[in-house]
Amino acid sequence: MRRAVVMLTAFLASLFIAFGFGATSAWAEGEALQGTLINNGQPVAGVQITVSSQDGAQVGQVQSGPDGKWTVPVPAAGTYRVELDVTTLPEGLTLTNNRPVLTLPVFEGSARTALFPIGSEAGAGAPVDPGPNRLGQILDLVYTGLHLGLMIALAALGLSLIFGTMGLTNFAHGELVTFGALMAFIFNVFVGLPVIVAGVIAVALGAGFGWFQDRFFWGWLRKRRTGLIGMMIISIGLALTMRYISLYWFRGETRQYSDYVAQPGIDIGPIAIAPKNLIMDLIAIVVLVAVSVALVKTRLGKATRAVSTNPALAAASGINVDAIIRLVWTIGGGLAALAGVMLGVFQGINYQMGFQILLLVFAAVTLGGLGTAFGALLGSLVIGLATQLSTLWIPTELKNVGALAVLIIVILVRPQGILGRRERIG
């Protein structure tokens, strides 16, 4: 009992310390209203925003910068009216919630973020950019779908391997994604390293964190013979804890890395893609292929698949099941952190980002067949594509609904998932 408390304290303390890097200095800059205007991962510049006090007096007026950011300092804590001038939005874009005026309280000593969700003109099938034809639009969605799918795949592979080897449906896997993104943010913004270096460090830390979790927490629970459902709910508790520790230190706002925020796209055929996205795709593909090849070709990979298939038999054939599970956690942590960094570059960093993508990751893993690593990869691409392509028929704000609905339909038709096998009874 005492040992566990000590471990848990150590584990949490490490999180606190990790997030402690100058956490206090960066955001206590006095009262202000601020925000970042983003459409589909790309900043929206030149939009006019006016802040006025409750009695109608104008406090400030700004235009969003090239990174989509805007800030209006306010004289004191109180309630302010923020208005976004819809006519200054680029053509084809609109506020998806149709609420250009927000009334927000600003608290003492802190900047308040005003959220203006921007999306393509309301209604189904509205073109994302003015101009491109239907084909271009579809290709664009296919690309973003694959891009999203690759990021999901990075997280899903780890989740699937963990499920396969220890049977845990890990609800805290999304927090590993957030962890990666936040670590990269700390090394990028506070320490001042370039995003790429910070990303590499974050992946290493993510792998270390995965190892750490299994070494001091899950491994210990396995030894106590905690049931799988029990562990699943424990992972929910862990996810809540980590998510709100992130909120505690990182606050509720969405922030950006210092580089690669706004990058103009290069034209490839009928669509424009930012080079940063292409490079990230390349990294993701290389990593996924490397892990997959390792699973098939190396001794450790074979041992991992053996443990997934039948842990008791694997143990009897001399495989150290615990060591394999620890390895899987390490790899899973690293992959999830990489997914987090990429997601952070793609759409900004937020304490909820891991949880938000977790459901899509679950969907991907289930779709591919629970516990089958290659199924998870396939499922991820399907989910990524389903998410993006569903916007051809349903509003963008409901695209996750489309992806989750695909999951439910596939389970109806093929319960064991795309690559899964049915179980034997008796």
């Binding site: 449906t169 905690t226 049931g227 459902i229 029990g230 996750n400």
Partner: protein, 329 residues
């Protein structure tokens, strides 16, 4: 430090709105998880569908209150069938993933701009509770030194606790009947139950509907008590709180959810009242924690509490170690 205020809000929370709502939701979840072994991670959707069913009927379509209640209950039954029919033949983890996905779908639909004409989008709906408060028989509020409730609150609490009592009575009656025996046997091993000639699928659907309907009572009370509904209330964390409560009180115990809910809300209210006032008197320096951050601390503690409970007392505070519900699988 306003100790009397801190204690009085904590005491009020023992029997307050949140306690009732979560107790009802957890009673339903206990039928799913504790008794039948169904991993329903979408209980929030049942409450949401009930509340929205009622509010849309009354506010959007101007129909009578009681029809709204019926629509809400009907929606819950339909949701249970939609969730159950595809997944209840599959392994337990599939239900978990599908229900959590479905809950998220429901929430996203509630808050979508496209449907805001009916649902009010992210603002939700108001002005559906007038008929309910018109029935209020209380004419004077309770005001003592420690606790005080307005007449409206009194009416909500009365109705809420009566519903809790009814729900408990139903669960108690069922779980000592042959029906409850089949349900508990399904939790232990559904193939064995099938081999004895019971239609396991049908029982699971019945349990899913029963738990959904009992939980949905919480949805109604919540909506009426606040006289407003908001889509983001019905997120996954709502369900995670309910799990914490079920486990705290002891899974598969009739009174577990009520006891769990009272303890949970007493502690959480206490912490949420204590921290800001500690900050305001300077006992906690604002460099460590601001009032904004204090809100996150409650959640962090819930998460840690849930983990510690499952690790060291999976049977709940009052449970018997032999009856631990969670060691299976």
């Amino acid at each position: 430090m306003n100790w009397d205020v801190i204690f009085s809000v904590s005491l009020e929370s023992l029997i307050g709105l949140s306690t009732i709502v979560y107790a009802l939701a957890a009673i339903g979840l206990n039928v799913h998880f504790g008794y039948t072994g169904l991993l329903n991670f979408g209980q929030s959707a049942f409450l949401g569908v009930a509340a929205y069913g009622m509010a849309i009927t009354v506010t959007t379509f101007g129909q009578p209150f009681w029809l709204g209640i019926l629509v809400g209950l009907g929606g819950v039954v339909v949701l249970a069938l939609l969730l159950g029919i595809p997944t209840l033949r599959l392994r337990a983890d599939y239900l978990a993933i599908v229900t959590i996905a479905a809950a998220e779908i429901v929430r996203l639909l509630f808050r979508s701009v496209t449907l805001s004409e009916w649902t009010g989008g992210s603002d939700g709906l108001q002005q559906f509770s007038q008929s309910f408060y018109d029935m209020n028989p209380y004419s004077s509020p309770i005001e003592t030194t420690l606790i005080s409730f307005s007449t409206r609150e009194l009416w909500v609490l009365t109705v809420g606790w009566v519903l809790v009592a009814i729900a408990l009575l139903i669960v108690w009656l069922l779980m000592r009947s042959p029906w409850g025996r089949v349900i508990k046997a399904i939790r232990e091993d559904e193939d064995a139950v099938r081999s004895l000639g019971k239609n396991v699928f049908s029982y699971k659907i019945q349990a899913l509907i029963l738990g959904g309907v009992l939980g949905s009572l919480g949805g109604f009370v919540f909506a009426l008590g606040l006289a407003a509904i908001q889509p983001d209330t019905y997120g996954t964390e709502f369900t995670f709180y309910m799990y914490t409560i079920v486990i705290l009180g002891g899974a598969a115990r009739v009174f577990g959810p009520v006891v769990g809910s009272m303890i949970f809300w007493f502690l959480l209210t206490f912490i949420n009242a204590l921290l800001p006032s500690l900050i305001s008197v300077g006992a906690i320096p604002s460099s460590i924690m601001t009032t904004n951050q204090a809100g996150a601390v409650g959640y962090i503690l819930v998460g840690i509490g849930l983990m510690l409970l499952l690790i060291f007392r999976p049977q709940g505070i009052f449970g018997d170690k032999k009856e631990v519900m969670l060691d299976a699988r």
